[in-house]
Symmetry: C3
Subunit: 277 residues, 3 copies
C-alpha cells in the first residue's frame, strides 16, 4: 500500500535523539509504515532552506505522506502562533504534514497545488501530554502515522481552506537590459550555490552553455564559463551550470563556490554575456 510510505525532513540534526524518537512514534502507531529520511541536516530554523530541499526531493519520492518539520515557532500561541497542518495535493493524492510557516509551500506547488487541508493542532491523534517544544514527536509524527495507516485526512483535524495556507516568498530572477539579476537560493554540502534563475531564464538573458558569462557581485566582476559539469573546468576554477533541478548554479570544480565567492543564501548578483576579450 503506497500510502504507508512516510518521507521525513527536518532540522533536528544528527546529534540528538529527536529523529529517532519520531521514527519510534511512527513505528508504534503504524508498524507497517516505512520511513524514508530526506534529510535532517537542514540548517536549524531555516524554513527557506527546508522548503527548497523538500521541493527538490518530492518529485523523486514515492507517493505517501511527506512529513516536514522546521519549526522555529513551535508551541507559540496568540499572535505568534503558526498552525499545524496536513495538506492533500493534486499529484498522486499525496499528503504533506508540518507547520504552516511556508515550509510546505514550494513542495505543494510542485505537486500541483493543495486540494484539501486540515488544521491538526488539536488533532485527536496527538500524543498526550503535548509538549510545547517538540511537536514533531507529539503532533506531526502521530498525524503522519495515522495517515499512513489509512485514516481519512478530514478525520485528523479541523477543515481549513487551502487558500489560507501560508506561502513562502522566494527571490525572483529579474531580466534587465544588460543581464539577469539573481539571488543565491541555497548552498549545498559541496559549496555549490543554487540561484533563483531557471536554465530557461539564462537563455532569455542570452546566456548559452559553452560561452563565457560575466558575474558581477557588488563591485567585483568575474568571467566564468557556462559549462555542463564540474570537470569541464580546471580544479579550483569557477563555473556556471544548470544544476540537477534545472536551475542556474555556481560551483568550483573540486572546491566550494560559497567559499570562493563569499556568498550565502539571499545574496544578490548579476549575470550577463561576457564581452569578447
Amino acid at each position: 500500500m503506497a500510502s504507508a510510505i512516510i518521507s521525513f525532513l527536518s532540522d533536528y540534526g544528527y546529534q540528538d535523539e529527536f529523529v529517532g524518537v519520531c521514527h519510534g512514534v511512527i513505528a508504534r502507531l503504524c508498524p507497517q509504515a516505512r520511513v524514508i529520511d530526506i534529510t535532517h541536516g537542514v540548517p536549524r530554523h531555516d524554513v527557506r532552506a527546508g522548503a527548497l530541499a523538500l521541493r527538490a526531493a518530492v518529485p523523486f519520492l514515492p507517493a505517501g505522506v511527506h512529513l516536514a518539520v522546521v519549526d522555529p515557532g513551535v508551541g507559540a500561541t496568540g499572535e505568534h502562533a503558526r498552525r499545524a497542518v496536513a495538506v492533500r495535493v493534486a499529484y498522486e493524492e499525496r499528503v504533506l504534514v508540518g507547520p504552516d510557516n511556508g515550509l510546505l509551500g514550494p513542495a505543494i506547488q510542485a505537486l500541483d497545488g493543495a486540494v484539501e487541508a486540515v488544521d491538526v493542532g488539536l488533532s485527536a491523534r496527538r500524543l498526550e501530554p503535548v509538549s510545547a517544544t517538540f511537536h514533531g514527536r507529539d503532533i506531526f509524527a502521530p498525524v503522519a502515522a495515522a495517515l499512513a495507516g489509512g485514516e481519512a485526512l478530514a478525520a485528523l483535524g479541523e477543515p481549513l481552506a487551502p487558500g489560507a495556507l501560508r506561502e513562502l516568498r522566494l527571490g525572483q530572477a529579474t531580466l534587465r537590459d544588460d543581464g539577469l539579476l539573481v539571488h543565491v537560493l541555497a548552498l549545498d554540502h559541496f559549496g555549490n550555490l543554487a540561484l533563483d534563475a531557471s536554465a530557461d531564464q539564462l537563455g532569455d538573458a542570452g546566456l548559452r552553455a559553452g560561452t563565457a558569462v560575466e558575474l558581477q557581485i557588488g563591485g567585483r566582476r568575474l568571467r566564468v564559463p557556462y559549462a555542463l559539469t564540474f570537470a569541464d573546468v580546471a580544479p579550483g576554477e569557477l563555473l556556471l551550470y544548470e544544476d540537477s533541478a534545472s536551475m542556474a548554479a555556481l560551483a568550483v570544480n573540486l572546491g566550494s563556490a560559497a567559499t570562493a565567492l563569499g556568498l550565502a543564501g539571499g545574496d544578490e548578483l548579476e549575470l550577463r554575456r561576457a564581452q569578447h576579450e
Copy 2:
C-alpha cells in the same frame, strides 16, 4: 513480531562505515529485524550524553531490543575491563544490549528496572575473530540480532545479578533556602541546555511559568522569563522552560543558550525567584 525491532544508538558518528557495518551484521544474522537509528551523533566517548539520549528516547520507541554503544573502554581487560551485557527490563519485556559502563542505567530505570541480565562478553554469538576495538560489530550487534531473532536471553551469555550492573551518577538539583542549585545535564543541536531539575522541582522552589526567574552563574546574575516556548520571547532572548522530557531547560529564541551563556555539560548554576523591579 515486536521483538524483531532493534533500536540503535552510538557515538560512531556519520563519517565512517561503522554504523553501516553494524546494520549489515544484523541484516545477515536476522534478516527480518528492522533497525531504528536513535542517533549516532552522541559526542564521542561521552557515556553520560549517550545515557541521557537513550533515556529520553526509549519511552517513544517500540518494544524490542535497544542496542547502545558508547564504549571508551572497549576491549580492555583486567582492572579496566567493563562487562558487555544484555539486560531485560520489566517494561514490555524489552532488552537492552551494550557495554556495562553506565550507558544503559538511566534507560533501565526509565523502563521499570532490570529483571534479568547476562554477561555477553564471551557469548557464542560473537563474530569470530573478535576484534579488540569494535565490539559494536563483533559482540553487541550479533547479540542484538540473536535476541531479535527470538533467542532466549539466558542462552546468550553468563547470568549476572541485575544489581551488579553499573549505575551512572547524574547531578541532582538541590533545593536551597533561596533557590534551586542545578547543573547542565546536556546540550542539544539547537544549543538548548537541559538542567537536572524537573518541572516539579521548579515548582517546589516557587518558580512558576509566566513569572521572571533570576539565573546566577558564578558572579553573573541574569533575569529571564519562565516561558512556555521559544517564541514567547523576542528573537535572541533567553528563556527558562519545561522541555519535552518535562525537565527545566534554558534556550535562546532562534539562537543558542549554550553559546549565549558559555555553559557546557556539568556546569552549575542557581535559579531563584526574581525580585520585582
Copy 3:
C-alpha cells in the same frame, strides 16, 4: 530474496536532500528493495577514503547490490570522462554500482574479483532527463534498483572487460632493514589513524604486541606501546594497535591521534623496535 538489498555509500553528506532523493528513486523503481546506508559522510570528492570505507564494510554486508557514489568527475565527457559501471564479483554474486574512478576497486578485490562488468552510462534504466551533475539520482540509483528487482546485469548496459576497470593505487608498507615504512591510509571520526601495514607485516618487522615501538615522523621520534586496545594506555597516551580490519593503527586513548600527531591521509612514517631504555 537476497538481491533486494542495496547498500549505499556516498559523499553526499547529511545537509541536503541528495541521499533521500536516491532512496526515493529506489523506492519508486523497486518498492521491495531494502536500503542499508553504509555512510554518506565520506569527505567530499575523496575517492580514496570512500574506497577504503567500502572495502572495510562489504565483508559484513548482506549479499545484494553495493551502490557507491563518490564522483568528482560526474558528467564529464571526452578525455576527462569516467565510465559509469556495474560489476559482478565472484563472492556471493554481488554487484557493485558506481563511477569507474577507483572507488569500487578495493572492494571488488576484497570480494574475490570482478567476473562481469557493464558500462551503464547509457543504460535504458536511466532517469530522463539525465542531469550532468547528479548521476547518483539519474543513473546509479536506477541501475541499482533494476538489479535489486532481478534484472540481468547484461541487460543494463554495454559489456565491458573486467580487466578494463580502473584500479586505485594505495600506499604500500615497505619493509626496511631497520623497520617498516608506512603511510596513513585513513583517519576516522575518533581521530584514529589506519596505516597501510597489516598486523602480519608488523610481525615481519619484528614488532610484537606488548612491546614498545619507535615511531619516526620526519625528524621526530616517539616511543609508543604496541597494545591491544585503547584503555591499555592512560588517557591521552598514544598507542599502536591492530584495528578491527586487522591493519596497524595509531590512536590516543580518549583522544585523537590525528590531532596529537598532526598527521593526515597519505603521510609517511616509520615504525621500528624501540631500544631498551
